[in-house]
């Protein structure tokens, strides 16, 4: 990363400068893979990619404003809260900076003037998880939210609720204190023995949930979003049923590619229709293959 931004805008050998601005907090396992994808694409095309993320919509909007001030060659935005970003994206469009939206916000992308949308919403991913859990016989599901008030996490739980058919209960834990998270999940399982499924939304929480289920002697089935080496191990050991894999690496790689092509060649992909990246599932069958990739931060 690095490099002088504004001066580099036109000067960089052909590549250009693209700003990726998401609603993921720094260090979030999911968004980190997006970042890796975007940066890898940038390297590939000789473009400068700057990545910024902030879960607070106003701050995200300010980051977009900043990118516009720097006159970048393209902006990639995740739209968890389209309303709040409307003005900032409008500014970018007005300044003739091409915008690609990623992850959520597919329905607003066109309206706001984005050239295309990549990924699919958290809600859809949640639906997939719900369906699969239902097939496994889960009737009462615990959806573990590790960041209260985060729209993306809430949408995942909503999606699961929509397709599971049974009851979905939420539990709030703190991702930065796993011992505490583990004991809270255990407490919930101990006090309500009818819970027979747990859906973690983060790989570290999945490991904490696995320990909680084991220690508490519960029979609950466990599924998670996103991957880590530990989660892949757990899937292979049968402790975790599956991990929802949105292949978010593509949500970083593709938009940079599209913007690069737009800049070079004025290409737009799919006539502005959304490009879907997932959901994929990592299960016992394909865990071994994915394991290596997860170690490398591309899955």
């Amino acid at each position: 990363a690095g490099g002088a931004p504004a001066s580099a805008a036109g000067g960089q050998e052909g590549g250009g400068t693209f700003a990726v601005i998401t609603h993921g907090a720094a260090g979030d396992a999911f968004w980190d893979v997006v970042k890796n994808g975007a940066e890898a694409a940038g390297k590939q095309y000789g473009a400068t990619v700057t990545y910024q993320g902030d879960g607070d919509p106003p701050k995200q909007a300010q980051l977009i404003d900043q990118a516009v001030s720097q006159k970048v060659d393209g902006v990639v935005v995740s739209m968890a809260n389209p309303d709040a970003l409307k003005e900032a994206i409008g500014k970018a469009v007005a300044a003739r900076i091409p915008v690609v939206t990623i992850n959520s916000g597919a329905d607003k992308a066109k309206e706001f003037g984005a050239i295309t949308h990549v990924g699919q919403s958290e809600e859809v991913a949640g639906r997939g998880a719900g369906e699969k859990l239902k097939a496994e016989g889960v009737t009462k599901l615990l959806c573990v939210i590790h960041e209260a008030g985060n729209v993306g996490l809430d949408q995942r739980c909503n999606g699961a609720t929509a397709t599971l058919g049974g009851t979905v209960e939420r539990l709030q834990v703190d991702v930065s204190n796993l011992a505490d998270a583990s004991s809270k999940i255990k407490a919930r399982l101990q006090s309500d023995t009818s819970v027979n499924g747990v859906l973690a939304l983060n790989p570290a929480i999945a490991i904490a949930a696995r320990d909680a289920i084991k220690d508490g002697g519960s029979k609950a089935k466990l599924a998670t979003f996103d991957l880590s080496a530990d989660v892949v191990d757990a899937i292979e050991a049968g402790e975790v049923l599956f991990a929802v894999d949105q292949q978010q690496y593509l949500q970083g790689w593709l938009p940079v590619t599209f913007l690069y092509l737009y800049k070079k060649n004025l290409n737009t992909v799919g006539g502005g229709l959304p490009v879907n990246t997932g959901p994929g599932f990592v299960t016992k069958e394909n865990a071994a293959q994915v394991a290596e990739l997860a170690q490398g931060g591309t899955r």
Binding site: A1, A26, D56, K59, N81, D83, E87, V151
Partner: protein
């Protein structure tokens, strides 16, 4: 008594040092250093567009930092101030969209709620004599729960939106969240609110009874009480001022982004305190200035946005931010240390 014309016990350098002793002057030096640093890193940072850009977050932060500075000079903390900006925004947007209120009416309702919460904070602190750190931590957590619980109960999601369509929106927005064009660059009106409030707060601190009382309740509550300062009333009023600032910032944000997330404002409370402390407020109360807090907000805003302008890797963002903060406060301190030696 012999009355001397020029007191021989005053050292020559007195005047210069006296100027430097003002709580905010150290932070001015820090601000200049940070500005110079990032200007060298990125030409956009020092362009009019860039300045408008980093002044924007500095303005809302500054409004809160000034209020928090008053409160801190008065010897108390308010950890609920950040989340209260979210609460007032949520109330306003919910009333305007779900219940069809006029935006102005919804804003007034938000103000009433903010004042009630500020009053409750103040009364709890004054009555129970618990440290305000703990009391407002309690209200912070409770508000956080309320924001989420009520929003979910009413809308089924963790955010409310659609304020744009509400009646009276355009007018309110122009007043609080619009922008003013100067030399082809748009500056947010919040910047003017911020400057105005800083001036007002400075005037109150330096030139009114109330200001004297604020310094006194923070610097020696027992002594102040003993000479008849209404300490309880002063403190309650300070909490209400902070709540009002939170309402103002909450409304500015809601009007600007037309939607509010239930987690809005969480974690900001410490940034307000940081800005006030960088600006020279003592954590123990009784000392500080409103201008200093504003400059603290500028330093924070510059460091925060400067790192992005400079294009440094986001993974290291916090590292640079921490280093900036330390260096800015250190510069501040060195200037002050040169200027004074206080015995306790």
């Amino acid at each position: 008594m012999t009355s001397v014309i020029a007191d021989e016990r005053i050292a020559g350098a007195g005047r210069v040092r006296r100027l430097l002793i003002r709580p905010e002057l150290g932070s001015v030096v820090g601000a200049i250093a940070v500005f110079a640093f990032f200007s060298a890193q990125s030409p956009v940072f020092r362009s009019a567009d860039g300045v408008a850009n980093w002044l924007d977050p500095a303005s809302t932060l500054g409004i809160m930092a000034v209020a928090i500075a008053l409160l801190m000079i008065g010897g108390e903390f308010d950890l609920s101030a950040g989340v209260l900006t979210g609460t007032t925004g949520l109330v306003m947007v919910t009333l305007a969209t779900e219940y069809g209120w006029n935006v102005w009416a919804a804003m007034l309702a938000g103000l009433a709620l903010a004042l009630a919460i500020g009053f409750a904070n103040g009364v709890l602190v004054v009555r129970t004599k618990l440290p305000s750190f703990i009391v407002t931590l309690g209200t912070f957590l409770m508000l956080q729960g309320l924001n989420l619980g009520v929003t979910k109960a009413l809308t089924g999601t963790v955010q409310v939106s659609g304020l744009r369509r509400a009646e009276g929106y355009e007018g309110a927005r122009a007043l609080l969240a619009g922008s003013v064009s100067a030399g082809g660059v748009d500056f947010r009106v919040a910047i003017f609110w911020w400057i105005g409030l800083t001036a007002l707060a400075t005037w109150i601190l330096m030139r009114t009874k109330a200001g004297n009382w604020i310094f006194a309740v923070g610097g020696g509550e027992q002594a102040a009480r003993a000479v008849g300062v209404p300490a309880a009333r002063t403190k309650i009023a300070l909490f209400m001022v902070t709540a009002t600032a939170a309402w103002l910032v909450g409304s500015i944000m809601a009007l600007r982004f037309t939607s509010v997330q239930a987690s809005a404002g969480i974690g900001q409370e410490f940034i307000y305190i940081i800005a006030a402390v960088i600006g020279g407020c003592l954590l123990t109360g009784g000392y500080g200035s409103a201008i200093g807090a504003s400059i603290g907000a500028v330093i924070f805003g510059m460091a925060d946005k400067g790192i992005v302008f400079a294009g440094w890797d986001a993974d290291w963002f916090k590292f640079f931010l921490g280093a900036m903060l330390l260096l800015a406060t250190l510069a501040n301190r060195l200037v002050r240390r040169y200027a004074e030696e206080v015995r306790r």
